[in-house]
């Protein structure tokens, strides 16, 4: 099995020494201690493990780390810049779009992939774009609202229209 010795994560070069076939999720969590990315199912069906690889939405639990080598990996830990939360992070707080929050990292990463392709998605476009991410607390309505807030740049406005 070929090995992977370096990864670009959140703009930094990280040294590792792992089999190329093991999951990106496992390397992020166990080797690099980036535990914001979660294990939810191991079958790419819940989205808790969502990260971006070269800006593309990626289910890290079913992605061999070899496929991410040499590419830019972004995890939830890399979203805030200079201590300032990303607009999606602000919006999730504002819309109270979390209960147990175990899905939150994956939701925010999937939403950022969605918004990078479609800056102003409609409600239906949010639903179809996010439909592979599960929130077991089932507060999808609030997550939709959070994405709408972030997409319209109103995270800091007081009143939010649905």
């Amino acid at each position: 099995m070929p090995r992977v010795t370096a990864l670009n994560v959140n703009g930094k070069r990280k040294t590792v020494d792992v089999d190329a076939g093991i999951s990106l999720l496992s390397v992020l969590r166990d080797n690099l201690d980036l535990t914001g990315t979660k294990y939810g199912c191991g079958e790419g069906r819940c989205g808790a493990c969502t990260v971006l690889v070269d800006g593309q939405l990626t289910r890290s639990c079913v992605t061999p780390v070899g496929r991410a080598a040499g590419k830019q990996i972004t995890t939830i830990e890399g979203l805030a810049k200079d201590g300032k939360l990303h607009p999606l992070q602000e919006a999730f707080i504002k819309a109270d779009a979390m209960q147990c929050a175990f899905c939150t990292s994956g939701m925010i990463m999937a939403a950022s992939a969605l918004l990078s392709k479609n800056a102003r998605p409609s409600r239906d476009e949010i639903i179809s774009g996010m439909n592979r991410n599960i929130c077991r607390c089932a507060i999808y309505q609030r997550i939709i609202e959070a994405i709408q807030i972030a997409s319209s740049g109103t995270a800091n406005r007081k009143e939010v229209s649905g």
Binding site: R29, Y39, L79, A101, I134, C137, A138
Partner: protein, 734 residues
């Protein structure tokens, strides 16, 4: 409170068997406290008789004598003025960390930001039965409120002494003690500085009335939301310890199988791998997860399986009552009919113009918490520390003590805020497994169950069969109500309808699958059956479902929510259109009143004219649970409960055969997703004149019957089994 007690008393027999009463009483020792908490002032709430009764209500009547007799809660104030409240409750997404923070800040008159809540660490917090039954708001919040209110009064006396004033001249505003003209001030931090005090607070202390709340009663987002949106929060599965190994358990090929033999030689040759075979337990620990998985795959195990039932036989099996020894000890088979039968069913049926008898069923469903069971276990000599996500930290401490034949004071269980449970994480099997591996390896071990393990080796919401016999007069008066629930439970079984002749019973059965608590317990099943049947009765006498219900309900709180939901929904004003239906349901459980209206559409499936898809397009739910503590989080809970309920209502069901769970993956077990979310309108009925009840559970119970009634409204087809439409509905019988 009989209804409440009934509701929470039933956690299901197996949970009782797993329940281990605490063998360790925390004795109140001031020196110990000071050692633990350091400089500052500690306010201790003695466990009063009143509190014991509240604990009793929270569901475990018979165990009262084993509760620690000393302390109910404590609040610490450190030299920086940071207020820390300690509670045995745990945060699983109900957002009680936020609501308890609000309660303490309110009574102490300090900003929300200066209050911390330490939860679920058995070494730091007072004993607690567990976080279930929607009891945090009605029992723990008042405890902490009292502690904070008493602390405030005692702190005012201490501040007054320092400022050489009379206590009556001081008040506390935003953590600062001030006199009337603000000429003299002292901060909370200044009062606590250099002190090493333990103050026992008096029992009779007044708390702020809901109408006067300034912090509670207001919307507040999750207090530590920033930790979650950044991925900073460490769930159990994120914890790392020095030298930690990763565990992997070898699971039997079928449920209830026993280990005949195992060949572990190949696995044991791998460097750093520890293999443990102990009775039916077989697992490995290794320096990383991949090695653990590889080592496990090299072990050849021979399991002895037995023939077991499948879905096809389920409801016949459940209708057979359990033999006596299987019934719950020390609580009784009678707890499903606390109010006892009233009147005579025979007489009630005799005076009826129409009689109905129907059977309703519900399948097993899975909690499927997004964070599967996880534990990190670490031994230090004979002392064991386990981080794990459980709703019963003290119960799991007992399980660990029993498993390793050590006393409970050698075991510390720490529950960090967990990735949900919905009643599915009462037990400590993952904690015991991790601890067993760690014991053998002599190093800390982390064990995270796979999704498949979580689906297969946890436990399910009970399946059930409900038989109802009823009679109604032509004018819509219900005259008889006979209700038998087999296996699913007695929560929400009591009625708010005024029926002179009723007999309501719960019967335990031998469940073929391991079953236990679930959000709302059996209230979903009982409301589904009752509210579906109510619609059938309304149809029998040609009355509008809303009018029919109101005719049979005197309870004002029930009428209020029913009318509030109907009004917001536009009930009676909506014209039926082809392929569209409207349904409603109402109920009462755990101190909360709920009414749900649903609008559904029926869409023909292309290429199959006999099949149709059901889509829930709009839901209005009115909820009243006394004084609202945090409107934002209450609304959030209700919205989540409605959409979570969509799964159990339409498509969730565990498929099993001969000791195997057949759909133990998200690919095979469908959960509600974004595309299943209807438009939701929540109507909060805020009763500041009534004590706050919990709200995590009851909002889930109204959806399934409202949807079943809407399907009938749209199609004339009456569906009496949950899930209603796992693969759409058949139009053939229409």
């Amino acid at each position: 409170m009989i209804d409440d007690r009934e509701a929470t008393d039933f956690i299901e027999a197996e949970r009782y068997e797993l329940f281990v009463a605490p063998g360790y009483n925390f004795h109140f020792d001031r020196r110990e406290f000071i050692k633990t908490f350091g400089v500052g002032i500690l306010f201790v709430v003695p466990l009063t008789r009143a509190f014991s009764q509240q604990q009793d209500e929270s569901g475990r009547g018979g165990f009262n004598s084993t509760l620690p007799s000393d302390i109910g809660a404590w609040i610490h104030i450190d030299e920086k003025g940071v207020v820390t409240a300690f509670t045995g409750k745990v945060e699983f997404g109900q957002n009680i960390r936020t609501s308890l923070t609000q309660a303490v800040a309110e009574e102490l008159h300090v900003p929300v930001g200066s209050v911390r809540v330490v939860m679920g660490d058995t070494e730091l917090v007072p004993f607690d039965m567990g976080t279930f039954g929607s009891r945090t708001t009605p029992t723990m919040a008042p405890q902490l409120r009292k502690a904070a209110a008493a602390a405030r009064e005692m702190l005012i006396v201490m501040a007054a002494e320092e400022l050489k004033l009379q206590p009556g001249e001081l008040r506390i505003v935003d953590a600062v003690f001030v006199n009337h003209d603000k000429s003299k001030t002292l901060t909370l931090a200044e009062v606590a500085r250099g002190r090493k005090l333990v103050k026992v607070i008096p029992e009779n202390i007044a708390v702020t009335k809901a109408v006067d709340w300034t912090i509670a009663g207001k919307s507040l987002t999750k207090v530590d939301a920033g930790d979650f949106v950044t991925g900073r929060h460490r769930y159990t599965s994120d914890i790392k310890r020095e030298g930690m190994l990763y565990g992997k358990i070898l699971r039997p090929t079928t449920l209830n199988a026993t280990l005949r033999s195992a060949n572990t030689k190949a696995a044991e040759t791998i460097r750093g791998v520890k293999v443990v075979v102990d009775g039916n337990f077989i697992g490995v620990a290794a320096p990383d997860q991949q090695t653990a998985t590889r080592a496990a795959s090299l072990i050849a195990v021979d399991w002895q399986s037995t023939a077991q039932p499948s879905n096809a036989e389920l409801f016949d099996l459940l209708r057979k009552p359990a033999p006596a020894p299987e019934r719950r000890r020390g609580g009784g088979e009678g707890r499903g009919r606390a109010s006892g039968p009233q009147g005579s069913i025979t007489d009630g049926l005799a005076m009826a113009d129409k009689k109905l008898a129907q059977t309703y069923t519900v399948e097993y469903i899975a909690h499927a918490p997004l964070e599967p069971r996880a534990a990190v276990a670490e031994w230090n000599g004979d002392k064991l520390t386990v981080w794990t996500g459980t709703q019963r930290p003290f119960g799991v401490r007992g399980e660990l003590a029993e498993a390793f034949h050590i006393s409970e004071d050698k075991v510390r269980v720490i529950v960090v805020d967990t990735g949900s449970g919905y009643g599915g994480k009462h037990t400590g099997e993952c904690a015991v497994e991790a601890a067993r591996l760690a014991h053998a390896a002599g190093k800390p071990v982390k064990l995270v169950w796979t999704r498949e393990e979580e689906f297969t080796w946890a436990y399910f919401r009970p399946a059930g069969v409900i038989n109802i016999k009823s009679g109604v007069k032509s004018d819509g008066t219900i005259t008889a109500w006979e209700f038998h629930n087999y296996n699913s439970g007695s929560s929400g079984i009591q009625i708010k309808y005024d029926i002179p002749n009723h007999d309501i019973r719960f019967h335990q059965s031998n469940s073929p699958l391991r079953q236990g608590s679930y959000r709302g317990l059996a209230a979903t099943a009982n409301h589904f059956a009752r509210e579906s049947h109510l619609d059938e009765l309304a149809d029998a006498v040609k009355l509008d479902p809303l009018e029919f219900r109101l005719k049979n309900i005197k309870d004002e709180r029930m009428r209020d929510v029913l009318q509030a939901a109907a009004k917001a929904f536009g009930w009676g004003k909506l014209k039926p259109v082809n392929g569209r239906g409207f349904g409603l349901a109402c109920g009462f459980e755990k101190g909360g009143y709920i009414a749900t209206c649903a609008e559904i559409t029926i869409e023909k499936v292309p290429r199959d004219k006999n099949k149709a898809r059901v889509r829930i397009v709009r839901v209005v739910e009115a909820f009243e649970c006394g004084a609202v503590v945090n409107p934002l989080h209450l609304q959030n809970q209700i919205e989540g409960a409605i959409v979570q309920a969509v799964g159990g209502a339409l498509f969730e069901a565990i498929r099993f055969a001969n000791g195997k769970i057949l759909n133990a993956r998200f690919a095979d077990y469908r959960l509600p997703r974004f595309s299943d979310t209807p438009l939701i309108e929540v109507v909060l009925v805020d009763r500041k004149d009534l004590p706050s009840a919990g709200a995590g559970e009851t909002p889930i119970v109204g959806l399934a019957p409202a949807v079943a009634n809407a399907i009938f409204n749209a199609t004339g087809i009456r569906l009496r089994s949950l899930p209603l439409a796992p693969k759409g509905i058949s139009l053939v019988s229409a």
